[in-house]
Amino acid sequence: MSSSKSPNPSNNDPVRVFTVLFGKEIKAFFLSPIAYVVLALVMVINGFSFKAAMTILETAPGDGGLVRFTFNAPWFWLSYFFIFPLVTMRLFAEEQKLGTLEALLTAPVRTGQLVAAKYLAALVFYCILWLPSLANFYIFQWITAGAGDIRPGELLGSYSILFLMGMFNLSIGCFSSSLSSNQIIAAILGFTLSLMHFLLGTFALDLAQNVDQSLKNIVQYFASAYHSRMFAAGVLDSRPAIYYATATALILFVTHQVVEFRRWRT
């Protein structure tokens, strides 16, 4: 059968297939109620963190500005890790439950295109989640007629580390979602893995405090708590960026293999 007879000679355009999938995923985010719940959640966290930061500045002004205190508030870390499972749990689990994964992967679609489209859609949505928090600072600046202590370095650092950590944790969420056809299980697994990574880093940081410098250097390489503290203070470092980028790539590669593997045996 000549393939020239089929009306779709452009089938092998990998970018196009990706774009179509990506568009569908982005649309799915904004059509699902969960997206708005997450958006509201993030705005509430930011509100509380912002208020906590203002209280600190008011009562005990120390080393650092408003942005730095906002993103180091306990409020913030308390709820930060809830974002990822909520954003990513649906991605593969739902397709598996509905059986639409079979429809997708029997169309001329590569698994890699699917994983990339889903992951990048989640990343774009995640970035959009932080836009209102940016408004907080600018509104504050505007109300106080520029008297607010907003330091550009802190702003850049904070949002950079939010992006980097988000990139990494979203890949963990993607991976968890690919493992199960149950969204709740995917969410709990993703949450646990993300939190474990964070807490292990934090504990290791504490333990390494009293040991020698070389061990401390190693721990600092993967301790998110340390990265966020440094970046929020305006100290931008390329090592964490490389760490998160490679870890993300690795986890996405594993996700790809999981989706392929399921295909190999179900």
């Binding site: 799915a28 639409t100 029997t106 169309a107």
Partner: protein, 312 residues
Amino acid sequence: MIEVRQLTKRYVGRTAVDAISFRVEKGEIVGFLGPNGAGKTTTMRMLTGYLPPTAGTASIGGFDIFKDSLKTRAMIGYMPEDVPLYHDMRVKEYLNFRARLKGLRGRDARMAVGEAMDKCGVTEVRKKMIRSLSKGFRQRVGLADALVAKPALLILDEPTNGLDPNQIRQVRELIRELGENHTILLSTHILSEVEMTCGRVIIINRGKLCAADKPDKLVDQMRTAGLVEMEIKANPKVAEGVLEKIPAVKRVAHNGTDDEGWERFSLRVEANADARVQIHAAVVREGWPLRELHRRMASLEDVFVEITQSEQ
């Protein structure tokens, strides 16, 4: 169009598809039959590139399903079993997404979607959410998806599953119409459907290929073997003994007694011999009242039952 050679799929401790081989020529409508769990869906999933075969090969349009998976997938319109769809998309939106995923763009995609919707009769529900559609409409949306990119080959896994008789008739009409310019491989366990739509039948059971021929040929083979039904009044035990002694009779089955005391028997008789004369002679000799003696015309259903049960 399709060439399957020794295709095998093994799971741990179970062989779902066991070295089956068959061919489907361009333009054919082939019915893929088998009891539930016979390996129909697994075979179709291998052909559509969703599952890799454990052993054996298959090619579609000359391309290997494993090595040139993307090329073969571009040639196939596949409707999976139970028609998976996104519940929170609208019909037209979904078909549009599928058309563009399969490589159609802009105006081509819109036209193809319109055509497919018309053909499958879903134009009236194009703006509805898929979650709110009835089973019949979902089935038709699945069908529209399968044919939207005008693939050379349609693989349909139980396209009439769960439909009511009117919808089954509509889908059957549609399939026959599509058969004019597509090659179609469809699985089902509704036999009348196959007799009416398919030019050829492949029967598999427990992963093994049992028969592959035209439906009427299969029925012919069955007919020569032959089945005779009769109703007499006699002691069933005695009658069974007498009937079994008739040379042309291979097997006797007592099918019960009706309210008036007539005993029903069905006899499997030798091919190429009309056993009815001998049976009649025996009945007269014994002096049993005889009410009915006729040869049953075999149907595809008999073939199916015979083939799939004799192997168990």
